[in-house]
Subunit: 81 residues, 2 copies
DNA sequence: TCATGATGTTGCATTAATGCTACATAGCAT
DNA sequence: ATGCTATGTAGCATTAATGCAACATCATGA
């Protein structure tokens, strides 16, 4: 499995989308609808196969009621918050 | 002049990169070096001709010692902070 | 059993973001 | 006048992010 490749190779972006989404009881399709993207895109992001554009990150953060910095990071998240 | 077009048309992203950069006494080239991008890319972003990837937004925020949400927004910034 | 929903996988097409080069302009020193 | 720095503009090439479709798997529930 490939890591999320930004335009700057070897610089993955980690996220807690799935954790936040599940905590709200949302399916990927639900979140995709709220964020206005294809449901597969949520899957790719949760699997960290690529990192989103800033606009998408902003939309997802809003849909999940989180700050961008709470959801996305260049350094891995510790588990369980 | 075109507004920044994300992959979702008609959804610009506003930013305060220039304001924050100038406040630190940095040239675009300086900021570009710190963020690891081409200096023209900073220019495009400051003119809001396009919106950055999330990774780039994170790197710029770090280079400017600001939160992503302080630098980028889907709604226009009020002037002077 | 059958259906349905949620998720994973693969593949293809489109386009925006970025790198890079070259040139122009304006200001500010010297 | 000459040079240097910062910036704007334009064009071209590459690639990652996204949309979308098809199919598979696995639960769960009727």
């Amino acid at each position: 499995m490939l890591l999320a490749m930004s335009r700057n190779p070897e610089e993955p972006v980690y996220n807690r989308i799935e954790e936040a989404r599940v905590a709200l009881g949302l399916s990927r399709q639900d979140l995709a609808d709220k964020a206005g993207v294809h449901y597969q895109t949520i899957g790719y992001l949760e699997r960290e196969e690529y990192s989103p554009s800033l606009v998408l990150a902003l939309r997802i953060a809003k849909a999940l009621n989180q700050e961008v910095s709470e959801l996305f990071s260049q350094t891995p998240f510790k588990k369980g918050k």
